[in-house]
């Protein structure tokens, strides 16, 4: 039960972007029916680190609270089942390559015609229209395409460093949650469903929106700035005591600069007129960075962070998975949850990042095992008899 328990989603999406979107809805009680096939389960069930098809951590994380249905879409009876499901669903989502849903007989035009109240969501890499709609893209290729990788570099770096993150998967996912709800609310107003076509590359470029606006209006392409900033200095990431431990310190005002000088006991900086203003500090930021690093190098990053925050300087440790797991702030939010997953005993995972005070997110069920809810959905929701279920099963519809 939850605030969205009158919302039902048919979810053909896999890996991260789509599933992270429907996860947001599932946290608040939406019934998300995740469709896989036994021949081609969600790619994240079979990641190299998983010992068993039911024991994948990424899958368990991104599919919490969802129902699992297996369907062999090559079987004609599977299409009958999907048709029955679409009649009782509010939205359907996929993140297949463009054309896959068409081949399954579920292209957006067909869906919009047959189910006029349905919200249809597609999240292909480059969008469903345009000359490159069929080009192959994965999350890691979308970052370079959209300009993100080029700018994600140190000022003097030999090559773009980018990130181990699968941008734009999570940014897309967060938007999918909002878009599905906006479209359902819109449908309730107008009586009409719609087709949402989100380009992951355009979403990725949106992360650079201010720079894009500047370039669109005639400024030169910006250069990578590493951890430096166009309006603040010093502004960087400094090595601390320990193996690969770091703390960021960002001075955003002259008052914070004075606070940093006092904290570091640098009276010489306090009296240096050249360092009074941002532009003066920017001109000397290489030297400042070196000396701040010498100061941080002998200290625990959390001590550096706490000292800075205490005097009003925005600073923070470069948090690892371990730091996040023990973060006192996330603990207060009860952000971590024990998933009670049968194949991953004791596994702790992140929960919902937003708190709605009256109708909080709830964790009700671990990510579905392959086909775990086939009988519930086929007989319970769609009203097929047990005998009919057996016929489907023997015919291989659930493979």
């Amino acid at each position: 039960m939850g605030p969205l328990d009158d919302v039902r989603i048919l979810d053909f999406s896999h890996i991260a972007a789509g599933p992270y979107g429907t996860l947001q809805l599932a946290y608040f009680g939406a019934e998300v029916i995740k469709v896989e096939s036994r021949q081609r389960p969600d790619g994240w069930r079979i990641r190299d680190s998983a010992s068993h098809i039911e024991a994948s951590r990424p899958f368990a994380d991104h599919n919490k609270n969802k129902l699992g249905l297996t369907l062999n879409m090559k079987h004609p009876l599977a299409h009958t089942i999907v048709d029955r499901l679409l009649q009782v669903c509010d939205a359907v989502i996929d993140n297949f390559s463009v054309g896959v849903m068409d081949r399954l007989g579920m292209g957006h035009e067909q869906l919009r015609t047959h189910y006029p109240k349905l919200v249809v969501v597609s999240v292909p890499g480059l969008g469903s229209t345009g000359p490159h709609r069929h080009w192959v893209t994965w999350g890691p290729s979308i970052m370079p395409l959209s300009g993100l990788t080029y700018l994600w570099n140190q000022e003097d770096g030999p090559e773009p460093v980018g990130s181990q993150t699968s941008y734009p998967d999570y940014v897309v996912g967060a938007h999918v949650g909002a878009l599905v709800l906006a479209a359902i609310i819109s449908r309730d107003v107008t009586g009409e469903g719609c087709w949402i076509d989100l380009s992951q590359a355009e979403m990725s470029a949106t992360l650079l929106a201010p720079y894009y606006m500047s370039v669109l209006h005639g400024d030169d392409d910006p250069n990578p700035m590493g951890n430096h900033h166009s309006a603040y200095a010093p502004h960087g990431c400094y090595p601390c005591l320990g193996s690969d431990r770091w703390c960021v310190i960002t001075v955003t005002s002259d008052a914070q600069w004075i606070a940093l000088c006092r904290l570091m006991e640098r009276d010489d900086w306090l009296t240096d007129q050249n360092l009074r203003t941002f532009s003066g500090r920017r001109d000397h930021q290489g030297a400042l960075d070196q000396q701040i690093a010498a100061w941080t190098l002998t200290q625990d990053p959390k001590i550096v962070m706490e000292q800075c925050q205490k005097v009003g300087i925005p600073a923070g440790v470069v948090a690892t998975g371990e730091d996040l797991t023990h973060d006192p702030q996330l603990e207060v939010r009860k952000f971590l949850i024990d998933t009670q997953h049968p194949y991953l005993p004791g596994l702790v995972m992140p929960g919902c990042p937003v708190d709605l005070m009256d109708t909080p997110a709830q964790y009700t069920h671990h990510a579905p095992l392959l086909g775990e809810h086939n009988p519930d959905i086929i007989c319970g929701l769609l009203g097929y008899t047990r005998d009919e279920y057996e016929v489907f099963d023997v015919a291989g519809v659930f493979n």
Binding site: Y20, L126, G130, R133, W135, M143, S146, G157, S163, Q164, Y170, A174, H175, A178, L179, S186, V189, W195, D197, L198, S199, E202, A205, T206, P210, Y211, Y212, S214, V215, L216, H217, D219, D221, N227, C237, P239, T250, G312, G316, V318, A319, T320, G321, D323, L324, P328, Q329, L330, E331, V332, R333, L347, M349, P350, C352, V354, D355, L356, M357, T359
Partner: protein, 399 residues
């Protein structure tokens, strides 16, 4: 239909970087979003980068993107008269967006309890770096601090170099998207119960929910490493230098055919003829040999030649585009990602539209509003203040 229509929804956005994107998203969904600025104009209007050419000369590129589609009123919330006026406005609003440090609205007597007592249906969303409660809720943060404390920075940058922050306002965008989702969830509840509620979004939690950062540690006791642009498992799976910059190849274990097709394109180098190279894990262990051969070969071509030919051969490849290069991309142009603002003949400019389309269309939005252009409408028509009242408030610099 030119976009989604979530019904008549008035949003008061207390100007702050943490909520500027959430406000824009709600405008994309059809809400009436009113930016509440100090009488001298919000600081976002001076945020870097500043545009140097054309109709937006001297304006902030950031404001020109984030504030499209919004209205603006001026109001000094530090003055008692301003606070009183805001309380009246909140009676005529559906949603309040707030990014200020926890405690600030209490000090202004604009906390949720106060505002909701006069308007039970009011929804209020606070987007802050660390959330509303906990030992660090009042700590200061910048985009770099958010990125570090949320765990994404530790996995960004080269293994040998420092963790590297992402370019662009990622925290505002990911926090804003999650907040918009939460607001729409609360709106669904309000449609049933008539009651609004308070929403607490932690940017740190929005980041920490991503990328399996926590479950890699809780599941395997390790933190995800930093590897520059090199993907965890894909080889080739990084940036490679070419004649005019870099390209990115992503040959994941899931796509054996892509490796075969790349080798064929490279003329089947004898060094990789052995059957062991067909094994993705073997390739990952011998990435240095593969990378040396691939970059020697990519050095003969330009980005565009490699991108187009790789796509013809169905090999996931993308150019490491600069921003100008991405804007000139055929796909971006064909899909109309850049459009002109509408509704104000005196100020019309190119901007990035939403990265999604609804039934093949994107919503057209009005340009960045002039400070206070909506004062007359809200104060006079909605609240019924007289011309004399308005003159008095102007004289006191309340509006």
């Amino acid at each position: 239909m030119a976009g989604l229509t979530i019904g008549t929804l008035r949003v008061l956005e207390i100007a702050h970087p943490n909520v500027m994107y959430c406000g824009r998203l709600l405008a994309e969904f059809g809400a009436e979003v009113v930016l509440v600025e100090p009488p001298a104009g919000d600081v976002s209007r001076h945020e870097m980068p500043i545009i140097h050419h054309g109709p937006l000369h001297g304006q902030s590129a950031s404001a020109a993107y984030f504030h499209v589609g919004k209205h603006s009123i001026t109001l000094d919330l530090r003055q008692a008269d301003g606070q009183s006026l805001f309380r009246q406005l909140a009676q005529h609003a559906d949603v309040i967006l707030d990014g200020t440090i926890p405690g600030q609205l209490v000090a202004w007597q604009l906390d949720y309890g106060t505002l909701q007592s006069d308007n039970p249906g009011l929804i209020q969303a606070a987007v802050t770096p660390f959330g509303q409660s906990g030992p660090r809720s009042e700590w200061l943060a910048t985009e770099l601090v958010n990125f570090a404390m949320g765990g994404l920075m530790a996995v960004s940058g080269s293994a040998a170099g420092p963790p590297t922050g992402a370019p662009g306002p990622h925290g505002a965008i990911i926090g804003g998207a999650h907040a918009a989702f939460a607001i729409l969830t609360a709106l669904r509840v309000k449609q049933r119960t008539g009651h609004g509620q308070f929403i607490d979004v932690s940017i740190q939690a929005c980041f920490a929910a991503q990328e399996n950062l926590i479950s890699a540690y809780t599941g395997e006791g390790r933190s995800t490493p930093r590897l520059g642009s090199q993907h965890r498992v894909a080889t080739p799976g990084r940036v490679y230098a070419c004649q005019d910059g870099w390209v990115h190849f992503f040959v994941s274990p899931a796509q054996q055919g892509a490796w075969d097709r790349l080798m064929e394109w490279m003329g089947n180098p004898p060094a990789f003829a052995g059957t062991e190279w067909a094994d993705a894990r073997y390739r990952r262990r011998h990435a240095e040999e593969i990378d040396a051969a691939v970059s020697k070969w990519t050095g003969n071509f330009t980005k565009q030649v490699l991108y187009k030919e790789a796509q013809r051969r169905k090999i996931p490849c993308a150019p490491v585009n600069t921003l100008n290069e991405y804007l000139q991309d055929e796909q971006v142009r064909a899909r109309g990602f850049v459009a002109k603002t509408v509704g104000n003949p005196l100020l019309e400019y190119d901007y990035l539209t939403s990265p999604w389309m609804v039934d093949g269309n994107r919503r057209s939005l009005a340009p960045l509003p002039e400070s206070g252009e909506y004062n007359e409408h809200l104060y006079h028509e909605t609240l019924g203040l007289s011309v004399a009242d308005l003159d008095r408030l102007r004289a006191l610099a309340v509006i």
